[in-house]
């Protein structure tokens, strides 16, 4: 028997291939180079080159790799967001890696592999590819979560994440199998054309896939792992996965619902809206009571997943582009907030308690001001990136005749302002209590640089949102 191998051009996968080669180089070079600092810079260079490849692909016509992967404007937009996240996360991790870890090579390589998984999720147009990409991404993150080997909480978080994540993957697979059974197709367009009105089997398949996606982007009630994992993981990893995994998860989520299920919006629109309300409210209410900064940011990330889901639930083009814009804006502000947490955390503890924030502004006024900007942006205060993200997704809800959803979102934003402001208030207004020790802060130059970059973009995206929104609209055009 002869098998004719299909002739494929790997060009649409070029950005990912560049990162893969970089990751392999890092692993190789790790064994011979004595100075591990260069590994991070090598990986950083890899993300830049990959970014150039993304830009180059964006100039030409849309390429596609069988009916598995595509390099359309949507995939390239996600590539851009994920690459920015990866580059900043590498810088955030730099000093922690040099000082507290002896496995820099593996850390950097796994971070790059996770990035490849995220980019592949954005590019995947077939349920099988989405699943494999999801597993590449998840497996890398499980391991990275356990990288703070000096703390037992890190290992506990990794195990918890792994067990629940494997469970969620099984849900996803069952859903995919049922969808295949009812439509006879695995590619998203084929599913969309053959699903028809669905029926019980297709409905169950979509519901199970929804559970799988919800777990990955931490939607209530599938978010239980989030606080423990974000708290236990090394802070640089929490930063990376809170934005990267969310962007990648929402990328596949949005494409799946807009391409494969475009015909049955009437059924899933209200369900997603309900899920969004539940997620926002649950995340915000739980965040109110947190005494650990990392847990607070974890619950805040759940709430933000809820806001982003509003864009998906709206189901119109403003919702899609608003969601993409939201992912970009959220990446900068959340990376920044976690970056400040890295600066404030005491060596070995891996966390920052709210009480230890008191009086930060006295000793470190610039740091406190930076954190305040990130907090205001997360809360959605006008001239910053976070405000426009919310404006677009809530606007989409109004456009889709779901004004009630937008109102719930705005009420939730007001609720969230309480705990974001509480962080700021603690830093600024309270005097140091007698006997309180000095706020120990390490300010290594690379970390400062990463924070400055994040701060710059939070302000820039907020001041000129139309530039970024146009890119997002361009990307959302593929949904027609």
């Amino acid at each position: 028997m002869t098998i004719t191998m299909p002739s494929v051009s790997l060009m649409p996968y070029l950005p990912e291939i560049i990162l893969l080669v970089t990751a392999l180089l890092v692993l190789l070079v790790d064994t011979v180079w004595g100075d591990k600092r260069w590994l991070v810079w090598l990986a950083f260079l890899g993300t830049l080159v990959s970014g150039v490849a993304v830009w180059w692909l964006a100039q030409g016509p849309t390429l596609q790799l069988q009916d598995m992967l595509t390099a359309d404007a949507y995939a390239l937009f996600i590539d851009m967001v994920v690459l920015i996240v990866a580059a900043i996360s590498l810088l955030l991790a730099y000093d922690w890696l040099i000082e507290h870890n002896e496995q820099q090579g593996e850390y950097v390589a796994l971070l790059l592999f996770a990035t490849v998984g995220m980019m592949t999720m954005g590019a995947a147009i077939n349920v099988v590819t989405i699943f494999v990409a999801l597993e590449i991404l998840s497996l890398s993150l499980y391991i990275l979560t356990g990288f703070a080997r000096e703390r037992l909480t890190s290992g506990e978080a990794a195990l918890k994440y792994f067990l629940l994540g494997a469970f969620a993957s099984a849900f996803f697979l069952y859903g995919a199998a049922l969808l295949y059974g009812s439509s006879g197709h695995l590619d998203l367009i084929g599913i969309g054309q053959n699903l028809g009105t669905g029926g019980l089997m297709a409905g169950a398949g979509v519901a199970l896939l929804l559970v799988g996606f919800s777990f990955k982007v931490a939607l209530a009630p599938f978010h239980m792992w989030t606080p423990d994992v974000y708290q236990g993981a090394p802070t640089s990893v929490s930063a990376f996965m809170s934005v990267g995994a969310k962007a990648a998860g929402f990328a596949a989520f949005l494409r799946f619902f807009q391409v494969a299920l475009a015909g049955s919006y009437a059924q899933w629109g209200p369900a997603l809206a309900a899920l969004a309300v539940l997620t926002m409210t649950w995340g915000n209410l739980a965040a109110l009571r947190q005494e650990s900064l990392k847990r607070l940011l974890a619950y805040s990330s759940i709430a933000h997943a809820g806001y982003a889901l509003v864009g998906l639930a709206a189901g119109n083009s403003l919702g899609s582009s608003g969601l993409l814009f939201y992912l970009l804006a959220y990446a900068f502000m959340n990376l920044g907030a976690f970056g400040v947490a890295i600066m404030l955390e005491k060596p070995g503890s891996g966390d920052v308690m709210m009480s230890s924030l008191r009086g930060t502004s006295r000793q470190h006024p610039l740091l406190a001001a930076t954190m305040a900007v990130f907090m205001f942006s997360l809360a959605g205060v006008p001239p910053l990136a976070g405000f426009f993200g919310k404006l677009y997704v809530f606007g989409a809800a109004v456009e889709a005749n779901m004004a009630w959803l937008a109102i719930v979102g705005v009420i939730n934003s007001a609720l969230s302002a309480y705990y974001y402001l509480r962080v700021t208030v603690l830093m600024y207004m309270r005097d140091e209590e007698a006997g309180e020790e000095e706020v120990a802060v390490s300010k290594p130059p690379v970390l400062v640089f990463a924070l400055v970059v994040a701060l710059f973009f939070v302000v820039i995206v907020g001041l000129w949102p139309s530039v970024w929104m146009q890119m997002a609209q361009q990307a959302a055009l593929i949904f027609g």
Binding site: M5, A133, I136, G155
Partner: protein
């Protein structure tokens, strides 16, 4: 002929699954599970799906049961001995019911296959068709899986690597 084979293998599979939930010793349970997996593999063979059968042998019977045994050895099989308390009896009966249910389903599926003309495409589930699909239609995901395996390998090495200082934990009794 097929029916006879099915009855033998199916019966042994049922014995295996009953043994898993009824035996007091966890190691015995794992071995009964192995019996069950092997018989299921033989059932696949009867159905004409050689490739599925071989995967069943290698993946489930080979890898997964060995993994189970490793975990049991790590925990220590004595400490798990009193795990099956009276409170678990309900779970055992429920499991038995599910196993019977599963057996009935299998019996139905195979019965359909025995008494009705075959419905699947020729070569369904055989290694040729699976291989052909993997190298043509599903080439891209197939290659992507290699990245996944690489990640797993790097991760296993990273996690197993001894680091300083060892995390503090209570001394073992």
């Amino acid at each position: 002929m097929e029916l006879v084979l099915f009855l033998i293998f199916g019966f042994l599979a049922l014995v295996g699954s009953l043994g898993v939930i009824l035996s007091r010793n966890v190691v015995h349970s794992a071995l009964f599970l192995l019996l069950n997996f092997l018989m299921l593999g033989l059932l696949y063979l009867v159905l004409g799906a050689q490739f599925l059968a071989v995967s069943q042998f290698i993946v489930y019977a080979g890898a997964i049961v060995v993994l189970f045994l490793f975990v049991i050895m790590l925990i220590g099989s004595e400490s798990v001995g009193d795990f099956v308390s009276k409170g678990r009896r309900v779970a055992a009966y429920l499991g038995m019911f599910l196993a019977l249910f599963f057996f009935a389903g299998l019996a139905y599926a195979v019965g359909v296959r025995v008494f009705l003309p075959p419905q699947g495409a020729p070569g369904f589930g055989a290694i040729e068709s699976v291989g052909k699909l993997l190298f043509t239609e599903f080439l891209v995901p197939f290659e992507l899986v290699s990245i996944l395996l690489l990640v797993a390998m790097v991760g296993a090495i990273a996690l197993a690597h001894q680091v300083w200082p060892a995390p503090s934990r209570e001394p073992k009794e």
